[in-house]
């Protein structure tokens, strides 16, 4: 069984080597002539004003939050889906309760306007 996963390690090495190799080749070939103006950050040619690490609105966090909750749900739903056609209809009911409780959360967020971008 582990042999099946060993090829993932090989994949990881190759997937890392492809971009690193490309970047290294380019690093050898390309010119290096930095100067202060060139190395400034690019904001449409205008001099930058203020700090780049600005504060974002809380809306981003809410989306990530709902995502994490539903992501966790997959940890339960995927085994259930695999087992379903050998389980019978009671599994569907048990599953519906689980999903309904989570949907209540989604509906709450929806009603409260947490899903609006604005």
């Amino acid at each position: 069984m582990l042999a099946n996963y060993a090829i993932l390690a090989v994949f990881m090495v190759v997937a890392g080597l492809v971009p690193i190799g490309a970047l290294a080749t380019a690093w050898v070939i390309r010119p290096h002539k930095p100067n202060p103006v060139k190395s400034e950050i690019y904001e449409c040619g205008i001099e930058t004003v203020g700090e780049a690490w600005v504060q974002f609105k809380v809306q981003y966090y809410i989306y990530a939050l709902v995502f994490v909750i539903f992501d966790v749900e997959t940890a339960f739903l995927y085994p259930w889906a695999v087992a379903y056609n050998r389980l019978g209809v009671f599994a569907l009911f048990e599953m519906s309760i689980f999903v309904a409780i989570l949907l209540a959360g989604l509906l709450y967020a929806w009603r409260k306007g947490a899903l609006e971008w604005v």
Binding site: Y61, L65, V68, V72, A75, F76
Partner: protein, 104 residues
């Protein structure tokens, strides 16, 4: 797998736990503390999986326990970060030494 003794996993898990503990107790930044706690939970999960594999490989309890524990970790991170954001909004800081409303 079979040629790795169980104690190796336990040692790695306890090392990870202690690193997380150090992070959780010593960082000034509230988000840093939360990250320490997440690492501690991960260390516990390694232990659970190792015990499942080495002691009760036929029972499912170990794996179910890990999935539930991951769920709890996700819920904890969600609420904890929301609290940190709320504190940041009202007090404009995430340095928890500045947040001492309930301190003597």
């Amino acid at each position: 797998m079979p040629d790795i003794p169980l104690s190796w996993y336990l040692i790695v898990a306890s090392a990870l736990f202690c690193i997380g503990l150090f992070g959780a107790l010593s960082r000034r930044n509230a988000i840093g503390i939360l990250m320490g706690i997440e690492v501690m939970l991960n260390a516990v999960n390694i232990n659970l999986v190792a015990f499942w594999r080495y002691i009760t490989p036929q029972a499912l309890t170990g794996q179910v326990f890990v999935i539930v524990s991951i769920t709890v970790a996700a819920a904890e991170a969600a609420v904890g970060l929301a609290l940190i954001l709320a504190i940041f909004r009202s007090r404009d800081t995430v340095n928890i030494e500045d947040v001492h409303l309930m301190k003597w």
